[in-house]
Amino acid sequence: MTVAANAVLPPPSKRRPVSWGNPLTYALALAVAAVSIAPVVYVIVGGFRTTPQIVANPAGLPDPWVFDNYARVLTQSDFWGQAFNSAVIALGTTLGVVVLGVCAAFVLARYTFRGREALYTFFTLGLLFPAGAAILPLYLMLRDLNLINSYYAVILPQIAFALPLTIVILRPFLAAIPRELEDAAAIDGTGRLGFLWLIVLPLSRPALVTVGILAFVASWNAFLLPLLVLGDVNLHTLPLGVQNFSSQYTSDTAGILAFTSLAMLPALLFFTFAEKQIVGGLQGAVKG
């Protein structure tokens, strides 16, 4: 739940008793959930079969269950190295997005100056066109800067792509922090920067976590940019790894299923913990 949302929403209705819904609700919800996760379950379970089993009966269950595919991926493939690269790039991107985003959004939310709205529009322009369109010239530029085949070649553009959305989400949030708090801080002798550091950052943690999660997930899942700028196999991230593995071992269906399962596991775990935060953080944003 966000500060901004709290200020506008009616009191949370947690006290209301949660009832068992009617059977139709459950039937529909079950059907929807099944469609969503059946393919995922199929892939995870399929990783416990052998390729001959899969070929003989594509829709069957493992019989017997084999753990060899998963063990093979974890010990013999480049899975760990790719997971490490993904983590470095995603963490770097997240840190950059949050730091640069909160600084810019703070100025756009709490300073009055000529050109403020122009600067805001300038950033929001980035929402109007797909960053993917700039990928070819971006590659050429990174090549000229000698950044190809480095983490920076992915991190810096990803920060840039994520900034518009970050600023759009953070600005109303930072603007909603009461003026009185800023005045009180000023009376206590704290400047605007102290106000940012001591009051704004702690208060806006939910929004920062939301933009951080969005940036992290986008970076973790990114494919096109890494595909173009990370030619060095040792720098490959997990999405590249999944694609490499599946085109390299085409006949090893069970192995591909295992690799794909392992690659999606971090995202699934991460999202399970972060789901509430994302929905809560978006409430402020969709209000506009």
Binding site: V32, N57, A133, V286, G288
Partner: protein, 333 residues
């Protein structure tokens, strides 16, 4: 800072009479210094973001326009100026026109299919029942998975004689089995299905966030006045969701225009190069990056950019404007 100021300005100590105003944090005589400091802060805090954004989003876009005017293989500086020839070539290439058509199918198909499904599921999952949180999590799963993972996953499931085929045969639908990802007439619809499965969760997330902003008082009051569940949704919830729906449509449209990952890993390159499953983005990467036709690829990049930008501006102008201005409590239908 304060001590520095009072030495510079002996007249104004801490006890300088503020003439009935609230405690002055900016003394009149140090206004200039204060103002300068404000600008230092503004510039200091925004410059890093501006630099990164300009350098890695706007400058490349500018270079794309420049490079697109040359026939250039990417080695040395571009010298072979050809004007708008690359653009003409693109619009004369049937594969590119196919890519445009496929993008149109994906944009329209996504909006028409995902919108109603997401609305239905969001209204369903907005009802209070035990285990609702778990169902919400399960529905979001496809959205959080990497596009590449989703692509590979469906490629394995949809392969000839694979799971989908086996399931359909066991259900007696063997006659409907297709070469899902290899048949030139079928592949784009298969991909539309995969994209729908992948992205409908995003629409649901946004709509659920929007629904949580609909005041309970309103819907409860209507229910007490005898409105049916459907009437409440139709006359109260949906109108209040208008802005959320339009923001989703906007994001979905922009996303559909640049769709790349799922298509790239799912469709066989021969199918793609025949245009059956190409999109503007895959066409751009195939030609610009892998075929090293840098001038031509950049022309395609500019076309992709212009189409997205114009579509976004039109959308913004005609549909989103009132959302940006307005409160969500205003009736919008």
């Amino acid at each position: 800072m304060t001590s520095t100021n009072s030495t510079l300005n002996p007249a104004g100590g801490a006890s300088a009479p503020p003439a009935g105003l609230r405690p002055a944090r900016r003394r009149p005589s140090s206004r200039g210094a204060e103002n300068r400091r404000k600008w230092y802060e503004i510039i200091g805090l925004t410059t890093p973001a501006v630099i990164v954004y300009v350098m890695f989003v706007l400058v490349p876009m500018g270079f794309a326009v420049y490079y697109s005017l040359f026939r250039w293989r990417g080695v040395g500086p571009p010298t072979d100026f050809v004007g708008f020839d690359n653009y003409v070539l693109a619009f004369e290439d049937p594969i590119f026109l196919d890519a445009l058509r496929n993008n149109a199918i994906i944009v329209v198909g996504s909006l028409l299919i995902q919108g109603p499904i997401a609305l239905g599921v969001a209204l369903l999952l907005n009802r209070r029942f035990r285990g609702r949180t778990v169902f919400r999590l399960l529905v979001f799963v496809p959205y959080v998975l990497a596009e590449v993972t989703v692509g590979i996953m469906w490629k394995l499931i949809l392969t000839d004689g694979g799971t989908v085929d086996a399931l359909m045969r066991s259900l007696g639908l063997g006659g409907l089995v297709q070469a899902w990802l290899a048949d030139l007439d079928v592949v784009i619809w298969t991909l539309l299905f995969v994209l729908t499965w992948k992205y409908v969760g995003f629409a649901i997330i946004l709509l659920l966030a929007g629904l949580s902003n609909v005041p309970h008082e309103l819907t409860e009051a209507a229910a007490i006045d005898g409105a049916s569940w459907w009437q409440v949704q139709r006359h109260i919830t949906l109108p209040l969701l208008g802005p959320t729906i339009r923001i989703w449509m906007f994001l979905s449209m922009i996303g559909s225009l640049q769709v790349f990952d799922v298509i790239w890993v799912t469709s066989v390159s021969s199918v793609r190069s025949l245009g059956a499953s190409a999109t503007m983005a895959t066409y751009m990467v195939d030609n610009g990056f892998f075929a090293r036709l840098w001038g031509y690829g950049n022309a395609v990049a500019v076309i992709l950019f212009v189409i997205s930008f114009v579509a976004a501006l039109l959308f913004q102008r005609f549909l989103l404007r009132r959302d940006i201005q307005g409160a969500i409590t205003r009736r919008v239908n």
